[in-house]
Amino acid sequence: MLFNDGNDDFYITVTINLGTNMINVYYSTELIGENQCNKDYLDKKTICDKNIPFTIGMYVGGTDPITWYSSLKLYGCRFYDKILSDNEIKLNYNASKDLLNN
């Protein structure tokens, strides 16, 4: 499988369409998952509320809520206030991939 290939590097791009609730996930530049999400789970009000921070590497979840943390080396992360096209995702990937080799 894609993520069990022994390669610890990851380059993930997630696009979230708040109009259609469509979520696309790219690994490097390859589209590996797309799903139309239930509106209850993709709450526009929460996502656009600037007073609720985004977190990377942690979330609280589960029926018996616990906090989960990531164990990783972060080489970069970005937010765009738009949905990047396939071509733009490729441009960014090609510009950034060398950072992972440093």
Binding site: T13, M58, P65, S71, C77, A95, L100
Partner: protein, 295 residues
């Protein structure tokens, strides 16, 4: 008899009653309260005086930058420009650097220079704010919420870029950037704790990044990019979540859509609104996390 009457008259003329004294004291206290309020309140005289001083300093800084523009206009010598020269992101400029305003789709590149806080300004001293200057038009703009992006930072697309965290370019910075905090355990960690050369390390125990004030337009959508290396094989990488912090408590604001994002249990992205909001204490959740890791 005549003497007694005279004394009574004198007493009435010269003394004040206890009631009058109390009323006078109350009036004085009220006046003192009003005066103190005017002087010390949030919009009081002292605060206004402080604001006036700040405005005066700001205007002095703007004037000093204006003098720099005048000097360049006369000399046309590039050495007279203050700050870092910016260049648009184009095929002509392989080494480009732009300043992007957050929350606005606006950027400053070619023809502008970037004057960072602390830059020495001739005849003024060190800049107390961040600025961009157009030496051709004389435009001087104070920067508030912005990011600096350059070709060396692995970004090809800058339109609508709201946030760019690049550890490699952070070694000369004091912090991650406005609104970005690295949390370890119960509080903010120092740069030395999380910045390991060209990456930020998350220990898998209690480290995470908290990012405030990301502007997401509710009419469209957004894109999130993240890249790095897993430290522990088979351990999930939590890409993104949205969590409301309330002091030491966390309001569950995130029901995940892991079926969409979680692939082989390595990557997850959580967002949305939990239907049944619950509160758990930080101590409780931390102990649970430790239990889970120990098991």
């Amino acid at each position: 008899m005549k003497k007694v009457v005279k004394n009574n008259i004198l007493n009435k003329e010269c003394g004040i009653t206890l009631v009058a004294l109390v009323v006078t004291i109350i009036i004085l206290l009220i006046l003192a309260g009003v005066t103190l309020n005017i002087a010390l309140s949030e919009n009081g005289i002292f605060e206004k005086a402080k604001e006036a001083v700040e405005k005066y300093k700001d205007s002095s800084e703007t004037e000093a930058l204006g003098m720099s523009v005048m000097k360049y206009t006369i000399s046309r010598d590039e050495k007279d420009k203050i700050g870092e020269i910016l260049k648009d992101n184009s095929v002509d400029n392989p080494d480009w650097t732009v300043i992007k305003l957050k929350n606005e789709n606006k950027q400053y590149g070619t023809n502008y220079t970037y004057v960072k806080e602390g830059t020495e300004i001739e005849g003024y001293g060190k800049a107390k704010h961040n600025w961009v200057i157009n030496y051709e038009t004389g435009e001087i703009i104070q920067l508030d919420d912005y990011i600096k992006v350059s070709s060396g930072e692995g970004v090809a697309v800058t339109d609508n870029l709201e946030l760019n965290i690049n550890p490699k370019s952070m070694s000369n910075l004091d912090a991650l950037g406005s609104g970005i905090t690295f949390i370890s355990g119960s509080g903010e960690a120092s740069k030395e704790e999380y910045l390991k050369g060209s990456y930020i390390e998350f220990d898998g125990v209690d480290d995470y990044l908290k990012i405030d004030n990301v502007h997401i337009d509710d009419n469209g959508g957004f894109t999130f990019e993240i890249f790095g290396k897993r430290i522990e094989k088979n351990k999930e990488i939590i890409l993104l979540s949205k969590t409301k912090f309330e002091g030491k408590q966390i309001e569950l604001q995130n029901t995940n859509f892991r079926n969409a994002i979680n692939l082989n249990n390595f990557y997850s992205c959580c967002m949305g609104n939990h239907k049944a909001r619950r509160f758990i204490s930080k101590t409780k959740r931390d102990s649970r996390t430790l239990d889970r890791l120990q098991n």
